[in-house]
Structure formats: C-alpha cells, structure tokens
C-alpha cells in the first residue's frame, strides 16, 4: 500500500483511531488544513461522520490488532490520536503506538481521569473531556459572574 503518491515528505502524517464525533471532527479539521490523515474504525458506517471534503484515508479494522496498525503504516506517523469510545482500548493502542512503533507524539482521550496514572510514565498526553468541560463551564460562569457584577454596579 502506498498511501501518498506525491512525495511531500514534510507534511505531517496523523493517524486517528476511532471515528466517533471527536475522531471524525479532528480528521476533518486536519484534512482541511492540508495534512495527511488516516482514520481507523472497526465499523465502516462510522466513516459517514467524515465530511464530503475529507481528503484522507480510511481503514476498517480493529486498531488493537497489530496487523491493522501496520496496514495503516503507523510507523510512519508523526502523531497518533487514540479517540475510541473505550478508555482501555485507547490506553492499549496508545501504548502500542508508543512502545512498539516508537511514535513521538501520542495523544489519548480518556473519559475516566483516574486511570491517568497508567499513562504518565509512557509520556502519553491525555485529554479528559469531563475535566475540560468543567474548566470551560467554570470560565463561562466566571465571565457571567463578572458581567452581572458589573451590571449590578452599573445599576447601583
């Protein structure tokens, strides 16, 4: 398999695992930014979430299978993002990418931040939607608090 006929060596090659809302959005965005993207999902129908303008590749298969990862040429990836809906699968895929394929940048989505300790020593970056959302909500609240405080001051 020769995914990229044109030899633009400098383009960043990103492998996204799991074509859910996060994976698909990320793949669309990276593809729009003119990067090389490949997205893997067990279920062929999941690729419907990709935009019609998506210019990357898709692979149907279980990304915890080493054969599937090899088919995706993961060894050539600059970045691997594990974004399936299963925390443990993300942990395993991220560790495989890191330890067996020596990928420098590995990012994993983790619903449950308690399991983060498993990642730490492998230098795998994690994002936790719950924590991010909480921070964001906090920010919004701080802003609205400020504005209501301001408006009350104005009234006074």
């Amino acid at each position: 398999m020769k995914p990229f006929g044109n030899t633009e060596v400098n383009k960043r090659y990103t492998v996204v695992i799991g074509c859910g809302r996060l994976g698909a959005n990320l793949a669309n965005a990276l593809s729009d930014e003119d990067g090389n993207v490949l997205i893997i999902d067990k279920n062929k129908d999941a690729f419907r979430k990709l935009s019609p303008s998506y210019g990357g590749l898709t692979v149907v298969g279980d990304a915890t299978d080493l054969g599937v990862l090899q088919e995706a040429q993961i060894n050539k990836a600059d970045v691997v993002v594990a974004a399936t809906n299963n925390d443990n699968a993300n942990i395993m895929v991220a560790q495989i990418a890191r330890e067996l394929f020596q990928i420098d940048r590995v990012i994993a989505r983790l619903y449950d931040p308690e399991r983060e300790c498993v990642y730490r020593e492998f230098e795998i970056d994690t994002i936790c939607p719950a924590i991010l959302s909480a921070k964001e909500i906090d920010k919004i609240l701080a802003k609205t608090d400020l504005s209501t405080a301001n408006s009350q001051e104005g009234e006074a």
Binding site: L66, D87, M92, Q95, L100, R115, C117, V118, E121
Partner: protein, 221 residues
C-alpha cells in the same frame, strides 16, 4: 500469612480457579462486572466477591488490591486485562500480575508493559488440541518455561522401531534426552547402553519443540 490472590473478570475460569486456589489455602477475591456472574461466583465457599468494573481504580481499591500478592486478569478483552494489570502494578504495587491474552501477537508487548506472566489462551488451547490429535501416543506432556522445554511420557508399543535397541543406537535429536524409563514397577535412569523394551514408559525431556521428532524416532509414528 495467607497469600492473597485477586481475580478480575472471567466467569467459569474465575470460578474454577478460585475454588482450586482456595483449596490450596490461598485467600481469594474476585471482581466481576455482571451481577449474575457474581451470584454464581458467590456459591464458592470462602470466596470474596465484588461486583464492579475491575479496570476502575476505585473498584480495585474496594477489593483491597493494595494487599494482594498476585493479581490475575481473566476478562475476555485484551485491553481490559492490560489496564487491570498496569493499575495493579503501578497504583497498588501488586507483586505479581498475570494476564490472559486472546491475541498471541501481543504476547511480547504485554511482557514489555511489565506484566509478569502472560497466558495466551489461543496458543495454549491450539497446542493442546494439536497434541491430543496428533500425538495420541503421548500419555502426558508438561510444558515448562513458557513451553520452551517439555516433559513427555511416551509408551513404547511392541511395534516401535526403538524396541530392543540400546539408547546410543537410537538417533534422537540433540535437544532431547530420555530422563527415565518406567518398566513395570521399576524406575531407572538409563545410560547409553540401556536397552529399550516393549511396554516401557519413557520420560522425555526436550527443548526447542523437538519432542515430536523424538517420539517419531522412538515409536515410528
């Protein structure tokens, strides 16, 4: 103090392993995420059963994973077993972790991740089936050192080409020795000039999967 063993996942495997370990005097706790399975497991006497997802740190904490000496992950999902063992190792400092593995290709990876013992069900089962099907001449075969060395019990029928020969006359593969001959009530450690007789039971020690070749040489099958 009793050795404490923690089993995570697995219904029938966990149940039979738990009963066997309890009989041997271990203190056993199982974690299982389905309530029905827990009810079945609870039928085993002296077994502590915890209903919950063993890949979650707080469930392991409820099961006192910190006090466990051995953790054995038996779920049907490789990724769950990996996470269970890593959590046990890193967060709870369990001395020995054992993981069941479905995909034989990941055996090395699991060891690399620091799991102490990886049991690949598929290769173990296919190995046993192969033995049972093609080596019905072998009474028992015991793998040692992750299957690199095996001890086999080989009965010698009257038709075997080795009958009447001295050991040094038999062209055995280099990695195989005949450790012992059981003849009637007698057991003997053979020398080069010991003759093999019909009805002998040979105990073979072999490495590098040479037992098949040796058995063929001895019994003609």
């Amino acid at each position: 103090m009793k050795t404490r063993v923690l089993l995570i996942g697995g219904r029938n495997k966990a149940k039979s392993l738990a009963s066997s370990l309890i009989n041997k005097g271990y203190h056993v706790t199982v974690i299982n995420d389905t309530y029905e399975d827990c009810m079945k497991l609870a039928e085993v006497e002296k077994l502590t059963v915890i209903n919950g997802d063993g890949t979650r740190p707080f469930v392991l904490e409820d099961a006192n994973a910190g006090d466990a000496d051995i953790a054995i992950a038996l779920t049907s999902k490789d990724e769950d077993n990996l996470v269970v063992c890593e959590l046990c190792k890193k967060k709870f400092h369990v001395k020995k972790t054992v993981a069941l593995l479905t995909d034989p290709k990941k055996t090395d990876f699991f060891y690399k991740m620091g799991i102490d013992s990886v049991v690949c069900a598929i290769s173990a089962i296919t190995g046993i089936i192969e033995q049972q099907t093609f080596m019905d001449k072998i009474a028992t075969l015991v793998p040692i050192g992750e299957g690199r060395v095996s001890i086999a019990e080989v009965p010698i029928p009257g038709t075997a080409p080795a009958v009447g020969k001295k050991l040094w006359e038999i062209n055995l593969p280099k990695q195989v020795v005949i450790g012992c001959i059981l003849r009637g009530d007698m057991t003997m450690v053979p020398r080069g000039d010991t003759r093999i007789l019909a009805g002998d039971m040979l105990v073979l020690i072999s490495s590098d999967k040479q037992e098949m070749a040796a058995i063929q040489e001895l019994t003609g099958r």
